[in-house]
Symmetry: C2
Subunit: 179 residues, 2 copies
């Protein structure tokens, strides 16, 4: 079933995206071409307050041209562990410091044209930092009961893939702990 690389070429290197184009050998012996984005990987966190609220963000995303509801998430910096990325993004985007982060799993957002993997975390023992109260023009954090966030996924009000998966998988982990 495997495809094996014959040659590989960086066909576009931009500020954000690196596109590669590889010649590959298919399982039946023929040759084909694969184009894909190289990505350093990312972490995404569901921050859970003691009262059961989660912290989500409203953020405008240019490619689709609309505001999405998202969990805090971001790309790994060079040499950074997925856990460190999760803690950093939580602080930068949601303005909360997590006493504890637990890795729940991982997923691949776009297997057809990217090698990106996103690590899923739950963040607990939260402490709000002063920046949490700064509304900025780019990322707006808000609190919502976890159960309501899950309802929003099933109702299609939350339609960002990483946020949907993180909420549903962390919810399953969270409610299993309480049973």
């Amino acid at each position: 079933m495997r495809e094996t690389g014959i040659s590989s070429e960086a066909v576009y290197s931009g500020a954000l995206l690196v596109v590669r184009r590889d010649r590959v050998r298919l399982p039946d012996g023929r040759e084909s071409v694969r184009e894909y984005i190289r990505h350093p990987g990312a972490s995404a966190v569901v921050p859970i307050h003691g009262n059961g609220d989660v912290v989500l963000l409203r953020q405008f995303r240019y490619p689709a041209g609309k505001v999405f509801i998202e969990v805090p998430a971001g790309k790994r910096d060079p040499g950074e562990s997925p856990e460190t990325t999760a803690i950093r993004e939580l602080l930068e985007e949601a303005g909360v410091r997590a006493g504890k982060v637990v890795q729940i799993g991982h997923f691949y957002p776009g297997i057809g044209y990217s090698d990106e993997v996103i690590h899923i975390f739950a963040g607990t023992d939260l402490e709000e930092t002063p920046s949490a109260t700064d509304e900025d023009e780019f990322v707006r954090p808000f609190r919502v009961p976890f159960e309501e966030a899950v309802r929003m996924v099933h109702a299609g009000e939350i339609d960002d893939a990483k946020t949907a998966i993180c909420l549903l998988r962390v919810w399953e982990w969270w409610t299993r702990r309480l049973r």
Copy 2:
């Protein structure tokens, strides 16, 4: 919160990927650059047999270099409705004809660098076609109880984002009907 486009340029047009690079005006008045992939959109289907089995596929994906478990899915051809794409992919990839397809929702797999939207369908009243029994070297369909597929998502054995979301959202719709 919005960003508005100032200018837009296709910086890479390959066999599969089209990358655009836009200059944008940020909400605070500064300028920045956004790079992203233009995508025609896609449909993904959870095919559900009368006995409660779903049909999934094993498929090797070159960018991440591994075999993934997936729901049947594919890009929209020009002029095709999401429903037609769903029915076509079901036949081509899983070898089943669906008497009925129902749209359950949609999601955006990669809002940071793509405008792709994936429409989620449930396919029922399935009829296996002769091609369903052909094992090919690229896509291998198999049947598994729906509940077991959901367990595999939460266990991380299914780690393709579109498949995880489709299974969890269609499962919620499916079990709600039976309650």
